[in-house]
Symmetry: none
Subunit: 231 residues, 2 copies
DNA sequence: CCCGACCTTAACGCAACCTTAAACCGCACC
DNA sequence: GGTGCGGTTTAAGGTTGCGTTAAGGTCGGG
């Protein structure tokens, strides 16, 4: 589920550069050449973040921004040729989330897009709160989200990031069966699984790490998926 | 137990933007439209951090600040439209903990709120102000915030300012995994990371300084970030 | 007994990461 | 205003951990 970014600027070159860089980061990019088009796209397409140039023919960036704030709620980054403070104030007062002055370094723009998306959609195991570290306990296993570590009877087991996310899925829902598709989505944070062998290999590795006194922690449910034993 | 933040500004829009962003980060937000109201709220409600605009009708931000310092003890961040240094100095002299000049990017404000809260409430609730000199001890490492020095078994290790802030982040949360983005924010005190190579170089330098008898102090968690070993 | 689903292992390759060194930059000192 | 210094940034090449792939084995239901 890639984020969809709207780039609204009358200069085709700017749009092109931004598209290039944003797509390299895995975002989906749609373009608008003027304000009216931008408004239409925000209204009709599902846009996750908008980059709006202030100086556009027809409807300028401010008006688009106001329009957005009245109808939708999505992060907006303003682009401005002038770097005068008055521009900045006007934009931010109207509720822009960020501001980039032209000429800009593409990488900075990308960084800001990324940062705003992250904050706005508070996704990605939302850090910030130090109190997010409630450890998950199932049987004699304890998973610490903060440190990304698993303990079995206090004995520490190192996990890779994929393994960690899978264990998290299991331990948040002990006893529940998950399909390989679901496990893939959780572990790889991607929607489409090319081959389910990946998952099987990973489960195999996990079992090897968990293995202890012949106890079985992860059960196979033929034709369905896997389940972590409640006790 | 979410932190409660007071936003005092006469412009409703500014309050609105700040509220939006702060609430998204999980903070509780209360608003005040002028200085008198701000003082009353700080007195009556349990406030953990205050954002004070300097230019407010009635009682201005400075007077509120002075009042706060006489009666309460909580972190205060000043907001100012003018970016003249004299303002800054006046505010900081009066005991403000931080300073943001308008126009500001919401993300920056949030970042500062977060960092001030962390600094202030870091170790066991509020301790005394300026007394941030409580040394942090983890394993055989001791970090002295006052002198910016790190000791390993009493042996002194010099740190640069960036290195120091990173070690502080690590040692305030031993065992916890931090992403490069988070490490960047802590070490460089900026919101946008253009390249993560900086962080990697710095970690590398830190490891070289810490290296001792083959002990590993900072571990890499591929695809996630870094962690300082608890013991 | 057969076949499809699942397991396991090992080799591979690539992106993420490490390290070094040189360039750059701000700052203090002369 | 040079000049030297310490620290940060940039760049480039090397390394490696981990997910992928593939291939052969095992299990279990019909």
């Amino acid at each position: 589920m890639a984020y969809r970014i709207l780039v609204a600027d009358d200069e085709a070159e700017i749009r092109e550069v931004l598209r290039l860089y944003l797509e390299k980061e895995g975002y989906e990019v749609v373009e608008a050449a003027d304000g009216t088009e931008a408004v239409r796209m925000i209204r009709e397409e599902k846009i996750d973040l908008a980059l709006l140039d202030i100086m556009m023919p027809g409807m300028d960036g401010y008006r688009v921004l106001r329009n957005v704030r009245e109808e939708n709620n999505l992060p907006v980054i303003m682009l401005s040729a002038k770097s005068s403070d008055s521009d900045k104030i006007l934009g931010l007062d109207l509720g822009a989330d960020d501001y980039i002055t032209k000429p800009f370094v593409p990488l900075e723009a990308v960084a800001r897009v990324k940062s705003n998306l992250r904050r706005f959609y508070a996704l990605g195991a939302g850090e910030s709160r130090s109190g997010q570290g409630a450890a998950l306990q199932v049987g004699n296993l304890r998973l610490e989200p903060d440190s990304c570590l698993l303990y079995r009877n206090g004995e520490r087991i190192e996990l890779t990031s994929v393994e960690f996310r899978i264990m998290k899925l299991f331990m948040e829902n002990p006893g529940r069966v998950f399909t390989k598709q679901q496990i893939f989505e959780a572990g790889w944070e991607e929607a489409y699984m090319v081959s389910d062998n990946n998952v099987m290999v990973c489960i195999s590795k996990l079992r090897a790490k968990l293995e202890h006194e012949g106890k079985e922690y992860i059960r196979t449910i033929r034709g369905l998926g896997y389940r972590m034993e409640k006790e």
